[in-house]
């Protein structure tokens, strides 16, 4: 169960972006590969916990599941796996461990609203906004 530390890394990363860009984050978009070793449901519940007391409190985590894609040397093409228990080409059956996709654990986008237009001081920038 390492989803809490993963969730905390996501929050940390988003906090940095929020501060750097002077924005309030309402949602974090994450790509999660089937081979990332991270369980989606566990991550979602840990995310809420990790956000508590931070500027991310009240934000949503939107997860896009990324399926496993291998390179089939026989077809000379990328093929999606039909089962995580069988690393072979779904078309011709050739085994392959050349993984092209499926290990992602990546923040790809943030949904943000700008902080008040009159923001001048750093301290205002760091105000913790009340979640809507």
């Amino acid at each position: 169960m390492h989803e809490l530390s993963i969730a905390m890394s996501i929050v940390e990363l988003a906090e940095e972006e929020a501060e750097r860009r002077g924005v309030q984050i309402t949602a974090v978009h994450l790509k999660l590969g089937a081979l990332s070793g991270v369980v989606k449901d566990a991550l979602l519940s840990c995310y809420e916990m990790a956000c508590e007391g931070t500027v991310l409190q009240g934000s949503r985590l939107l997860i896009e599941d990324i399926p496993i894609v291998i390179y089939c040397p026989a077809c000379r093409a990328e093929r999606p796996l039909s089962s995580i228990q069988l690393f072979c080409c779904p078309d011709c059956g050739t085994p392959s461990s050349e993984i092209k996709q499926g290990k992602e654990l990546e923040v790809v986008a943030l949904e943000v609203v700008s902080e008040t237009a009159s923001e001048n001081t750093a301290s205002e920038n760091h105000e913790c906004p009340n979640p809507a």
């Binding site: 169960m1 390492h2 530390s5 993963i6 890394s9 996501i10 990363l13 972006e17 860009r21 924005v23 309402t26 949602a27 978009h29 994450l30 081979l35 990332s36 070793g37 991270v38 995580i84 228990q85 069988l86 690393f87 072979c88 085994p95 392959s96 461990s97 993984i99 290990k103 654990l105 990546e106 923040v107 790809v108 986008a109 943030l110 949904e111 943000v112 609203v113 700008s114 809507a132």
Partner: protein, 232 residues
């Protein structure tokens, strides 16, 4: 509240770990030390395997080990019997090792004085798969007593490892372990994966594995290329 807008970012969540792992790998490479990490479920024989490996390598090679454990120092005490330098990393409640823990544990060590460094991860077939430790080679161990279907249950860890080791082969008959089935299951989730089978108790199969390790060390030292970068 104004309408939210979408901004694109591309940030690997484990970047911090990966950066430290890369630095470690460069340090290992510069020192010429071959680094092997071990992952498995609890009780699959990692410590017995490591004790045997350290003891048999020690007359010819300079070896050391880092051992991750949740709470106890039992493993480090057992491994110290091999007379190799051993350091415990107590992770508390954390279920896996991270690169930063390895970095901290190595403070004060002169890596140039080593040929092999072993890193025993916390017994867990899930969480360690996400974390690169800077190792050259990651071993995943399964014991014959765990059943042949372990690879099918934990395909992710098999895909983060380079080599599989089937341990406790002296118990094969007692538990009616089928090597063919186990091998087929490993190949199903990781085609082409090299598999060793051995018994740390009787020593059967250990020499073959040690010979493999020696070859890998020679390759590392005679080539400027990375020997094998684990990229979980």
């Amino acid at each position: 509240m104004p309408e939210p807008r979408l901004i694109e970012v591309r940030k690997n969540v484990l970047k911090q770990n990966d950066v430290i792992a890369r630095t470690l790998r460069e340090r290992f490479r510069a020192a010429g030390v071959f680094v092997v990490s071990l992952v498995s479920s609890p009780g699959s024989g990692k410590t017995a395997f490591l004790e045997k490996t350290l003891t048999q390598l020690r007359p010819n090679y300079r070896v050391a080990a880092l051992v991750g454990d949740l709470a106890t120092e039992n493993d480090a005490v057992r491994l110290a019997r091999s007379q190799a330098p051993v350091k415990q990393i107590t992770t508390g409640t954390l279920c896996h090792l991270e690169a930063a823990m390895v970095e901290t544990a190595l403070a004060g060590w002169n890596l140039h004085e080593l040929d092999f460094l072993f890193i025993e991860n916390v017994g867990n077939l899930v969480c360690p798969s996400s974390y690169d430790l800077g190792e050259d080679l990651r071993l995943v161990l399964i014991s014959v007593t765990e059943g042949e279907d372990k690879p099918l249950k934990y395909p992710t860890i098999f895909n983060s490892a380079d080599i599989a080791i089937v341990t406790k082969t002296d118990l094969s008959a007692a538990v009616e372990f089928s090597w063919d089935t186990a091998y087929a299951n490993i190949q199903a989730v990781r085609p082409g994966m090299q598999v060793f089978q051995l018994s740390s108790k009787t020593g059967e199969g250990v020499d073959e594995f040690l010979k493999f390790l020696s070859t890998r060390l020679d390759e590392l030292r005679h080539s400027k290329q990375p020997a094998c970068a684990s990229t979980p």
